[in-house]
């Protein structure tokens, strides 16, 4: 297959001073200039950040490439360079084919214009020619499901209608190369499902898609290949599952124990988390746990003053970032007003519940602020460890040693009755007849 995108040594530098002055007034800038002249500060001293450094990669036609990385790693900058919203400081990209980009849905929607007018406006902004919009107009309106209101200004739309119409336009964009940012981060579950479905469609119809996302399961599911960016460098490039696993491993090399000092302990004025640890299993390396044995997650936290009832909570994720479960301590102790003091809470994850692989634990001290939980102290990706099946035949996988999918892998109770087979004898009989005749 032919290469449609070839990036070679891309680099992008931001000067920090520039960022700070971005919203400055002329006066501030002039006085800054004055100061600089007086103190003879040199311009080059201004701090610089390389958002991208020597980024090279290729994308073949029809490939769906996922770009992952931490916040601030440079993914969005890379996408901005590829979409030409910003120019690189060095390097070069060659793109073969018509590019469509989708950094958000509804770019350029004008509230005063009607739905119909916005379809044309938005389509044109996304790079469609007028005749293309004409031809797809009916399909777009039907897809959006807002036919009745198509001549109403969109400022009178509900936010759901607005997003549906905006997405309908975007979904009918048919470039050869589509660059997508975390569009999926907005909207409800139904909307996200449609977004993913549409991208899957595009991918399978031979179009090239580059997809920047935090949603690791989506990347794992949709992409043929993943690129990991870290501090502006490409640090991983390969099959999504491998890249995601190594990404999580790097991110969560936090180990099985984390402690904080008084000053650094995360939390607010009500509660602070002092330590999180996962006591190791006897006879196993410290960060590897036996799938069959319970795993304890110990949270040490301090309640600083009397206040709302607070309670500890954990969230367990698998190596692709999918949430396995949330759990909180529901003991009645935590229903009363919080009493100042230091607490050590241990959450026991039963044996034979998690699947094998990397596990990430987030810990928090929360209170109820219906309909949400208020996090007073929270540590994301706090500790991580590996779950291993020693393969002694008494786990959920029995004697099978191949790949075993699933976020969890419970050892279920199986009930089985051996029914003395009248059915079986009936089934055998015709064969017997055939054999006899």
């Amino acid at each position: 297959m032919t290469t449609v995108i070839r990036a070679d040594g891309l680099a992008k530098r931001y000067s920090l001073g520039e960022h700070q002055a971005a919203y400055g007034t002329l006066r501030e800038s002039l006085s800054h200039l004055g100061r600089r002249i007086r103190r003879r500060e040199h311009h080059a001293e201004a701090a610089e950040i390389w958002a991208l450094r020597d980024v090279s990669f290729e994308v073949r036609q029809g490939e769906v490439l996922g770009i992952i990385g931490r916040n601030g790693a440079g993914k969005s900058t890379l996408l901005k360079v590829l979409t030409r919203i910003t120019t690189p400081t060095a390097g070069r990209v060659e793109i073969r084919g018509r590019v469509g980009s989708l950094l958000e849905v509804g770019t350029g929607f004008h509230p005063e214009l009607t739905g119909r007018e916005n379809v044309y406006l938005n389509g044109s902004i996304l790079g469609m020619k007028r005749r293309e919009i004409d031809a797809r107009y009916d399909a777009i309106v039907e897809f959006s499901g807002v036919e009745k209101f198509i001549d109403t200004p969109v400022k009178r739309y509900s936010s759901g209608m607005y997003v549906r119409l905006a997405f309908a336009v975007a979904a009918h964009l048919e470039p050869e190369i589509l660059l997508v940012d975390e569009v999926l981060a907005v909207g409800d579950a139904e909307f996200q499902r449609r977004c993913l479905g549409r991208m899957e469609e595009l991918g399978s119809s031979g179009r090239t898609v580059i997809f920047v996302s935090h949603q690791l399961p989506a990347v794992a599911q949709l992409c043929d290949r993943a690129l990991q960016i870290e501090s502006g460098y490409v640090v991983g490039n390969g099959p999504p599952v491998d890249v995601i696993a190594s990404y999580l491993h790097q991110t969560h090399s936090s180990g099985t124990e984390r402690t904080w000092t008084e000053d650094t302990a995360p939390g607010d004025d009500l509660a602070k988390i002092l330590a999180i640890r996962v006591p190791s299993h006897e006879g196993m390396p410290p960060d590897v746990f036996d799938v069959r044995r319970p795993i304890g997650i110990e949270i040490v936290f301090r309640v600083l003053r009397e206040g709302k009832p607070v309670f500890p909570k954990v969230k367990v994720l698998d190596q692709e970032g999918a949430v396995a479960f949330n759990a909180m301590d529901t003991h009645e102790r935590w229903l009363q007003r919080s009493a100042p003091g230091e607490y050590v809470s241990t959450a026991w994850i039963p044996g034979n519940l998690l699947n094998e692989g990397s596990v990430i634990v987030e810990a928090a001290v929360c209170s109820i602020d219906f309909p949400k939980l208020e996090h007073h102290a929270a540590v994301y990706e706090a500790v991580s460890f590996e779950v291993l099946d020693p393969g002694e035949g008494d786990s959920a996988r029995g004697v099978f040693s191949g790949q075993w999918k699933g976020v969890v892998r419970p050892l279920l109770e199986w009930e089985c009755e051996v029914v003395v087979p009248r059915m079986a004898s009936q089934r055998v009989a015709p064969d017997g007849d055939v054999a006899r005749s």
């Binding site: 960022h19 919203i85 910003t86 400081t89 390097g91 073969r96 902004i125 200004p153």
Partner: protein, 313 residues
Amino acid sequence: MTTPGSSLVDERTSDGVGDTGGNPGPAADAAVAFVDEAAAHRLSVIQPASRLPHLAVSELWHYRDLLWTLVWRDIVVRYKQTFLGIAWALLVPVFTATVYVVIFGKFANFPDGGTPYPSLVLAGVLPMQYFASALALSSMSLVSNLQLVTKVYFPRTLLPLAAVLVPYLDFLIGLPVLVFLMWYYDTWPQGIQFVTAPLFMGLAVVTALGSGFLLSAINVRFRDVRYMIPVFLQVLPLLSGVMFAVSDIPTKWQWILALNPMTAVISGWRWAVLDAPEPVWGQTALGVAVAAVLFVGGLAVFRSAEPRFADTI
């Protein structure tokens, strides 16, 4: 597939520019698929920005649909949810001209250079109104389209360009009032100079676009522009001879006013449509030269700031 040489292709970006002329395949007429064969073979190159003050006309041409859409959007939105709607395009210049006629014509006795004063004033007010709107809109164009600038690529020059085209409609709508005055005072243009009228309006467009490039680029970084412009537009009619005939003021001052391209626009326009005295061509040339410098300079500033628009806006 040929690779566009860097000398051929504009170095910054080249969507639509590096059209290497891929031959349209047999599927070119497949209206459903819209496989733009030329586009399919197009090679775009993304590189560090070149700061030469080039207009990249071929790229603008490629994006002409978007230009018209932006113009259309601004025109449609301009008078939405107003009671009088597009009639404002008529009322504003008429009202302004009436005030000028009463204050400066009746009380202050400004020199009219032999032209009926109401015609003289309206022939000044119409181009000035156009310029004022064009300048205000274009200098705000990048900031008011912030959402587009940070989320989607197109040549940024489209925004000030669309902004100077939008108020042209208002200008055209105001014209019949001037024609009415020409009929009322019987000051029809004499002779062939009539055809130069669009050229003088063209000068106004170029001046507005040049200043629009300059001010919109500055405005991305320094929002002070927003406060400067109304002040500037308040004194500009006085500096452009909207309410008096420039030929009637001392020569030295005529030349000082000639540094302002809008003076050349207004004098020339009066000569073309009202049979007013011929402008001093040296002064017109000076105005044109200033407009040209403004255009090239504005474009240069715009181009040099362009790579950072999305980062600093």
